[in-house]
């Protein structure tokens, strides 16, 4: 809504104070774009948590949604950050060992191969999409400068071409806004989507890793039990330990399977939604641009 307001104000003031307005609007527009992005990402995250059978019941989540005063969440202190760092190190080192183990379960084996490749390709696509979006934005910025230069030419020229320049300058200003929106929308619908699924596929990989870890633990427990039985020492302890590992493994396998199936469903739905919206927005902007250009040409050709 605020865009419309600005547009109307601009039309009323005509050519008189363009530069200050343009600067203000540019800044406002960029801020709004980033804001839109952030809101969208938060929304997706919250919806995910709310949809999750277990996480939705988490107390922290409830507090987050309901507490109507400032939450004052403290950030991670140095110690916690360091812990995270080491956890990641261990995970990657472990990951190498664990991924060597072939899975008996076809489902998980397939998922593992799939996720590995998918994750890498999503990463690549995300990076390329980012670059593409940024180039779009650079081009939009150039339109802005061209519009300003044309305006200067229009106000200084002594021949009758000054009206012409002013009209084209106006066109570039307007078309620049559309180009900037194209860039922002591509960023939102494509780049962010890919970034999100980059993280999601990483999370899925982590899940598989945890399951593999648990499988290794289970197998180790089995070996320990066999040894205990052979030595006939601490057999009960070994048995309980093995049972626990077994339970843990089966539980994690079950929930992992469900999560992974959900992952696929969600992924397909999200891509569909975003790709459809992307195409619709691209169409809307292209049509808007086309009309701007055609209107401008009609005026210019009419004048000459």
């Amino acid at each position: 809504m605020s865009f419309l307001l600005f547009d109307n104000m601009r039309n009323l003031s005509g050519f008189t104070i363009p530069s200050l307005k343009m600067k203000t609007m540019q800044v406002t527009f960029e801020y709004l774009a980033i804001f839109k992005k952030t809101v969208a990402m938060h929304e997706v995250f919250l919806c995910r948590v709310a949809a999750h059978p277990i996480l939705r019941k988490d107390l922290n989540f409830h507090v987050f949604l309901e507490y109507n005063q400032d939450l004052s969440v403290r950030g991670k202190n140095k110690k916690e950050k360091l812990e995270d760092f080491f956890k990641n190190m261990v995970k990657s080192a472990d990951g190498v060992i664990v991924s060597g183990v072939k899975d008996v379960d076809d489902f998980f084996e397939h998922e593992r191969t799939f996720l590995l490749e998918y994750h890498n390709r999503v990463k690549d696509a995300s990076a390329k999409s980012d670059r593409m979006t940024r180039s779009h934005k650079s081009a939009a910025d150039d339109y802005n400068r061209i519009g300003s230069s044309l305006y200067a030419l229009g106000t200084q020229d002594s021949t009758d071409i000054c009206k012409f320049f002013l009209k084209v300058s106006e066109l570039f200003d307007k078309t620049r806004k559309i180009e900037a929106r194209v860039s922002a929308d591509e960023d939102l619908k494509l780049s962010d989507l890919l970034k999100y699924y980059l993280r999601e596929s990483q999370a899925a990989k982590d899940l598989l890793y945890r399951r593999s870890r648990s499988l290794v633990d289970y197998e180790n427990a089995n070996k320990a039990l066999d040894k205990a039985r052979a030595k006939n020492k601490d057999v009960l302890q070994a048995e309980t330990s093995q049972q626990l590992c077994c339970q843990k493994f089966e539980k994690i396998s079950e929930s992992a399977k469900q999560e992974l199936i959900d992952f696929k469903t969600r992924r397909v739905a999200a891509f569909r939604k975003n790709l459809v919206e992307l195409a619709e927005l691209e169409l809307k902007h292209a049509k808007g641009n086309l009309q701007l250009l055609q209107n401008c040409l009609a005026v210019l050709n009419g004048d000459t």
Partner: protein, 523 residues
């Protein structure tokens, strides 16, 4: 004011009579001998004085770059200078060259007939105006195309030959459609001749495209990559625009050198366009002298129009440069966008391949295809950005440099007039002193001498005044014509450019409309 006399375009564009014609030749050869005798440091001042009244290769605006099709330079240096004179003779001698006759508004230009006579210019003057009115009414029926660049020769002596095709209904040409092969230095040679004839009398001669060592070396070496094909295409387009602008100028169109360039199958090699030839060095020296002079000449401008116009052109120059920089940035970013879109398309295709949901996988492949087509679109748009918008601006930046040069010539002309007046005054003072002095035996001879000199300088003062008024008048007309052309040019090209943007958007709509159902089909 002196009787109006337009410079007859009969081979030399000097606003003078026959006496100076011979003068020109002599001065030219004396320049040659001076160069040959003292190649190290010719006195700038004397060269400058000669330059003003000579038909030599005058300083050209913004054209000192090293040569692109160079041969063994120094060995030929003296040779080239002497080659100059015979080359110039056909033009200076006036006999064979077809004259232009008075014209009625209906037919444009009739060839040959009348020889040069003093009365012709007066009649001619009127007809020139008529021709220009025709030009404004857009009846100039001549179309020039530059095409088919082809590499001739091998190694460092190789060069590109371009086909120059002319289509015209003007009767001054032998045929209505004809084409010739020309190389880049031929174009430079043409410009050099036109500039030396017309610039110093106030005509805005369109500048030739710039030399480029890097570009040409790549072509010579035989690199068949996209950057050298782009370079050749850029040059071809620039040469075409250069010729089109030149023929649009009513005075230049009648020049026999231009006609020879367009028509004759064999053209004498323009060797004096090489930077390190004798003529090239002369050019550089003159340019340096000019720069020094510009700083020292203070002209009493009596005509506010000229000051105003110069200021306007200065502003326009600055604005165009700024705009040009922004457009160049756009071209660069658009090319980047095209490359990044292509990269994304490939990446999306890979993603589609590894996606195990069939419908989504297909949609991603479609997305990849769309983005690939869009990348092509961006590339084409970048070409349009460059060839239409950016090149238009760079052409005009160089044209304005030519305009500024013409204004500078006027100042030099004024200076010459001013100098003549000062010399005349000195001579008169000397005479007066002689009258008072007391040496009867020497006095009569000296008196006669000084009388003669005074008469000579009186004539020069008169000529200087005439020249100055002439150049001022010509510049006013030229600037008027230039501004009209500029407005037309900008409007035409920018509208064409906007139409290219329209096309791009229309294509985008088509592509996304085709993709949308595919995205919706994901189930």
């Amino acid at each position: 004011m002196a009787a109006e006399r337009e410079p007859p375009p009969l081979g030399d564009g000097k606003p003078t009579d026959f006496e100076e014609l011979e003068d020109g030749e002599d001065l030219f050869t004396s320049t040659v001998s001076t160069l040959e005798s003292s190649p190290s440091s010719p006195d700038p001042a004397s060269f400058l004085a000669e330059d003003i009244s000579t038909n030599s290769n005058g300083p050209k605006p913004a054209e000192v770059a090293l040569d692109d099709d160079r041969e063994d330079l120094f060995a030929e240096a003296t040779e080239e200078v002497s080659l100059d004179s015979p080359e110039r003779e056909p033009i200076l001698s006036s006999e064979p060259s077809p004259a232009v006759t008075p014209v009625t508004p209906t037919t444009l230009i009739a060839p040959r007939i009348e020889s040069k006579s003093m009365s012709a210019p007066v009649i001619f003057d009127r007809s020139r105006d008529e021709i220009e009115e025709e030009a404004n009414g857009d009846v100039f029926d001549i179309e020039i195309g530059v095409s088919d660049p082809e590499k001739v020769g091998d190694g460092m002596n190789a060069y590109m030959a371009y086909r120059v095709t002319t289509k015209t209904s003007l009767s001054m040409f032998n045929k209505s459609e004809f084409s010739v092969k020309r190389r880049f230095s031929d174009f430079l040679g043409l410009h050099s001749k036109l500039a030396s004839k017309y610039l110093h009398v106030g005509y805005i001669v369109p500048p030739a495209p710039e030399k480029s060592i890097v570009g040409m070396t790549k072509v010579k070496v035989g690199k068949e990559d996209s950057s050298s094909t782009e370079f050749v295409e850029k040059r071809r387009a620039a040469l075409e625009r250069y010729l089109q602008r030149t023929v649009k100028h009513p005075t230049l169109l009648q020049d026999p050198d231009l006609r020879q360039f367009l028509e004759s199958s064999e053209l004498p090699r323009a060797v004096n366009t090489q930077a390190l030839s004798g003529a090239g060095i002369l050019r550089m020296v003159n340019k340096a002298a000019d720069a020094v002079n510009k700083m020292t000449i203070k002209m009493n401008e009596s005509d506010a129009w000229f000051e105003e116009k110069q200021q306007q052109f200065e502003n326009l120059d600055q604005q165009l440069r700024k705009l040009h920089a922004s457009v160049e940035a756009l071209v660069c970013h658009r090319k980047e966008l095209s490359a990044n879109t292509a990269a994304f398309a490939k990446s999306a295709a890979m993603l589609g391949n590894s996606e195990d949901h069939t419908a989504l996988s297909r949609a991603l492949s479609q997305l990849a295809e769309v983005e690939e087509k869009i990348d092509q679109l961006h590339q084409e748009q970048a070409f349009a950005d460059f060839y239409m918008f950016s090149e238009l601006l760079s052409d005009y930046i160089r044209l304005i440099a030519a305009v500024k040069g013409v204004f500078d010539h006027r100042v030099k002309c004024w200076q010459k007039w001013e100098d003549a007046q000062i010399t005349l005054l000195k001579k008169r003072e000397t005479e007066a002193k002689m009258m008072v002095a007391n040496k009867p035996d020497k006095i009569q001879q000296a008196k006669n001498e000084i009388r003669e000199e005074i008469e000579e300088w009186e004539a020069k003062v008169q000529q200087g005044e005439r020249d100055f008024e002439q150049i001022s008048k010509t510049i006013r007309k030229e600037v008027g014509r230039f501004e009209k052309e500029r407005v037309k040019d900008f409007k035409t090209v920018i509208i064409k450019y906007l139409e290219s943007l329209v096309q791009t958007q229309q294509q985008l709509i088509k592509y996304w409309e085709a993709f949308l159902p595919e995205a919706k089909a994901i189930a």
